[in-house]
């Protein structure tokens, strides 16, 4: 099947406007007849559910957390980009578009990125109207800060918790619609499968995490807003519950998975402290506005306390390597530079996997009070976790898995190749290419939910007879039986090892072979070992309790089973992409100075994988990427 991206014709700057004008409409009376299922309640899910309900559609929204407000968008710290140019520093829609395409190492779809930049300005308006308390200046207008990969200040923020504030805004919009009766909210409810009827996504199967009840829900369209797959690495900055199940189950039902090898390793996280560790904590990238990253020049200095290492013996490696962006170099580049320093034996802290992020100079220049105002909550969090004060000594940081640019393939309308299945936010692949810039995830989630899908869902829905498929269709009974079968197998297994022990083993393997640097030998080894581990998991996993009540081990087992399958596709994609770009770094493909070497002749495409029934033999489809506005160039931040 050929992939049709449905990019509108015409000049880049008018594509979205024209597409909106040309889009089919559904009259208000008829909208009420359509039911849309929204899975996930993060920025993309909440904003989509609320906006579709405002338009008149019947919406059912699902989240596995106990409240929609707890979806993991809430943990985003730094900010949200928008091309407002309130700073008069030369920003524009075109510049945000350009920075994002370049930041993504020329592996994103231009038309989608341009639309994202266009609607970014509306997002800020919307959020302010909802009462989101963005930081402001004394005159009462909105404040901005700069962020990695950009030379303008276009990031709006709310202390160190922009994600929580934006999500609370979207959640309040959702609450307004729940109150009105137009959204039916199902919390503590997890998707187990997607139901496909006559080639269209027409429903989902869920499990009530309190009662264990398996339920079927039918809809005229399904929206997956279920986030990324970073937890395939076990240790990541994702919440414990983040998982690949919704997108993976949809993939098994026919949706193509695009560019899974594009994973973002965030440079500023608190280093791993022991094997009991359950997650890694991000320290916002905004810290790099004032913090300077360094390691000792000489390996013999690494045991010394930071203050005993003289200025001339310090290697401020980002400033040295990337003088024009310095400590604000993009995430992939900063992460690799930190890894290199540690690989050279110059890493600091226990295990030698850490670099310093030093605020001494900023504290001298601006005073401790100003630094506390800017980053106080982050410094507090650092102290709680490490027991160290970043006012007194430099922070120790190390890269960690943070975000996944890959996801289900979608066309310009955010619909996957499986008709009816729409994918929003981190769960799709479309806007960030091979690397996402800081403060762009929140922008994309809200763009998709508030402004894109409300327009682009109509062209699909008008082709559908509302309510034509109900849960009495035999496909629902079949899907329920599949889900019950999986649950019975887990509970009846009586193995010897816990779910977590398998998850940890899988994560270490994937991090080792398909983490910050990858090569063919390592990936092939991972592809041999993952199926073995998967087999061992299914024969040896021990899941206690029953299916008829709250059972967190059973929930985890289902998620890890899907990670065990997904991991193979991740490594296969990384092996097939014989180039380095953004977050995907193949050691075979680099310039003599260690920079990533892209291969535009052979790999300027989206790799969309089709499930064939055999995990070892997925079918690759390519969507060629065409660059009309931004010319393909070596991505340099020097």
């Amino acid at each position: 099947m050929a992939l049709d991206s449905k990019i509108p014709s015409g000049p880049m700057a008018t594509k979205w406007t024209r597409h909106k004008q040309d889009s089919k409409l559904i009259n208000p009376k008829n909208k009420r007849k359509y039911t849309v299922l929204v899975v996930g309640s993060g920025l993309a899910g909440s904003s989509a559910a609320a906006t579709l309900a405002e338009l008149g559609y019947q919406v059912k929204c699902f989240c596995f957390q106990d409240s929609a407000r707890r979806a993991h968008s809430i943990a985003a710290q730094g900010g949200i980009n928008a091309a407002k140019n309130y700073q008069n520093d030369g920003d524009s829609v075109h510049r945000l578009f350009y920075d994002t395409v370049k930041g993504g190492d020329f592996r994103a779809r231009e038309a989608n990125v341009h639309r994202l930049a266009e609607v970014s300005v509306n997002i800020i308006d919307q959020c302010v109207a909802q009462g989101v308390p963005f930081a402001r200046e004394y005159g009462g207008i909105l404040a901005n800060r700069s962020f990695g990969g950009a030379q303008v200040s276009r990031t709006f923020y709310a202390r160190g918790q922009t994600g929580q504030q934006l999500l609370l805004g979207a959640y309040s919009a959702l609450n307004k619609e729940i109150q009105r009766g137009s959204v039916q909210m199902h919390s503590r409810t997890e998707l187990l499968d997607v139901v496909v009827v006559d080639g269209h996504a027409k429903g989902i199967i869920t499990r009530n995490l309190v009662t264990g009840k398996i339920e079927a829900h039918a809809g005229d369209a399904v929206l997956l807003c279920t986030g990324g797959y970073g937890n395939v690495f076990y240790l990541s900055t994702n919440a414990m519950g983040c998982n690949v199940t919704a997108t993976w189950r949809a993939h098994r039902k026919g949706a193509h998975f695009a560019n899974p090898c594009y994973t973002q390793i965030h440079p500023t996280c608190i280093p791993v402290s022991g094997d009991y560790q359950s997650k890694l904590t991000l320290m916002s990238e905004s810290l790099r506005n004032d913090g300077r990253v360094w390691v000792p020049k000489r390996a013999e200095d690494i045991g010394k306390p930071a203050h005993q290492i003289r200025e001339e013996d310090r290697d401020y490696f980002l400033e040295r390597k990337y003088p024009s962006f310095g400590n604000l170099a993009p995430r992939d580049i900063s992460s690799r530079a930190a890894k290199e320093a540690c690989d050279e034996g110059r890493g600091v802290g226990p295990g030698g996997r850490g670099v310093y992020l030093d605020f001494a100079e900023a504290i001298t220049q601006f005073g401790r009070k100003t630094i506390a105002e800017r980053y106080g909550n982050l410094f507090d969090m650092y102290q709680r976790i490490t027991g160290e004060s970043a006012y007194e000594q430099p922070m120790r940081i190390y890269p960690a898995v943070h975000y996944t640019m890959g996801g289900l393939w979608v066309d310009y309308n955010l619909m996957s190749n499986l008709p009816g299945l729409h994918v929003l936010g981190e769960a799709n692949f479309s806007d960030h290419g091979a690397n996402r810039l800081g403060a762009s995830a929140l922008m994309q989630g809200l763009a998709d939910g508030y402004f894109v899908i409300p327009t682009t869902i109509a062209p699909y829905l008008v082709t559908q007879q509302p309510g034509a498929v109900t849960t009495s269709h035999p496909e629902f009974a079949k899907a329920i039986e599949d889900c019950n079968g999986r649950i019975r197998r887990f509970l009846g297994n009586k193995g010897k090892r816990t779910v977590d022990s398998f998850h940890r083993e899988l994560g270490l393997l994937v991090w080792d072979k398909c983490g910050m640097a990858r090569d063919a030998d390592g990936l092939q080894e991972a592809l041999r070992r993952i199926p073995e581990l998967r087999e061992e998991f299914h024969s040896q996993v021990l899941v206690p309790g029953s299916g008829e009540a709250a059972n967190q081990e059973l929930e985890k087992a289902g998620r890890v089973a899907d990670f065990m399958e997904f991991a193979e596709l991740l490594c296969r994609d990384a092996l097939a992409r014989e180039e380095s770009c953004g977050g995907h770094f193949r050691t075979e493909h680099q310039y003599p100075d260690g920079e990533a070497k892209r291969d535009d002749e052979n790999f300027c495409h989206v790799a969309a994988w089709e499930y064939t029934g055999d995990l070892a033999k997925p079918q690759l489809h390519r969507e060629a990427l065409h660059f009309e506005e931004v010319h393909l160039a070596v991505r340099s931040y020097k």
């Binding site: 405002e54 909802q130 009462g140 929580q164 919009a173 009991y276 402004f451």
Partner: protein, 262 residues
């Protein structure tokens, strides 16, 4: 890093049934581990020895989602000030300590299992009025209404609430006033929130009462327990907003108050 041996007294309960404390020995716990990582270690051992692991809510483990709860030695989120359970680390405990671990207790927070409770009441309070009615696409330019830094900062102070419910668990009356006042206060103090101020205040307080939370008797245990240090001054503001809204409703009449209220 050192290892700790601890005696845990953990509340075990199935939904709708009576609960009890179970003694669990937690041996060789790394002091760098977080409290929830200690629970993970305990659960791994319970599972492999054929016992039922302890159910507890958690998700982001970085102190912002508000999912983790637990009453630790009688204090919501444990002994560290301004710290959620997930951010509490074992270095704050001593070798041989006995630790009592219970769910957040309140009539309005029924136990789901062990340490998990149902905080759906918080969602319903916000559904009753915790929003500004603004349709997507209908907003004016973000800088059209200047908002003084002090006002914006105060709204942000209230907005920092993570909805965990520690304030309710800390209160002897299981009152939700700190939570509701922070939620209403954020919107009531901003210019955008003025048109619906009365309606919001009355609806949220009435829903709070309906959910079975107790009254506030000004003991301020809530503020002491709040991991985000929400100030009880918001309760004062809510009381004021509620009184004014109630008066307007009584004297002007609900309909007129709604139509041209202020």
């Amino acid at each position: 890093m050192s290892l700790l041996n601890l005696h845990l007294k953990v509340w075990r309960q199935h939904r709708g049934q009576p609960g009890h404390f179970q003694d669990i020995e937690a041996r060789e716990i790394p002091d760098h581990a977080s409290f929830l990582e200690m629970m993970d270690i305990v659960n791994e051992r319970l599972i492999t020895s054929g016992q039922d692991p302890v159910a507890f809510d958690h998700d982001c483990r970085e102190g912002i989602c508000g999912m983790c709860s637990m009453q630790i030695n009688g204090v919501p989120h444990g002994p560290e000030r301004a710290t959620t359970t997930c951010q509490l680390h074992m270095r704050h405990f001593r070798e041989g300590d006995t630790i009592w671990i219970e769910p957040f207790r309140a009539k309005a927070f029924p136990v789901v299992k062990d340490l998990m409770v149902d905080r759906g009441a918080f969602d319903r309070i916000q559904q009753a009025g915790g929003f500004i009615t603004v349709r997507t696409g209908s907003a004016p330019d973000a800088n059209a209404i200047p908002i003084g830094k002090e006002v914006a900062d105060a709204a942000m102070d209230a907005a920092a609430c993570i909805g965990c419910g520690a304030c309710v668990a800390a209160c002897k009356n299981a009152s939700a006033m700190l939570f509701v006042s922070a939620k209403a206060g954020q919107l009531n103090s901003l210019p955008q929130g003025q048109p619906e101020k009365d309606r919001r205040t009355l609806a949220m307080v009435r829903q709070m009462d309906k959910e079975g939370f107790g009254h506030c008797t000004n003991h301020y245990e809530c503020e002491a327990a709040c991991p985000k240090e929400i100030s009880v001054r918001w309760i004062t503001k809510l009381n004021r907003d509620y009184a004014a809204a109630g008066l307007r409703e009584a004297f002007v009449g609900r309909q007129e108050a709604a139509e041209g209220g202020d």
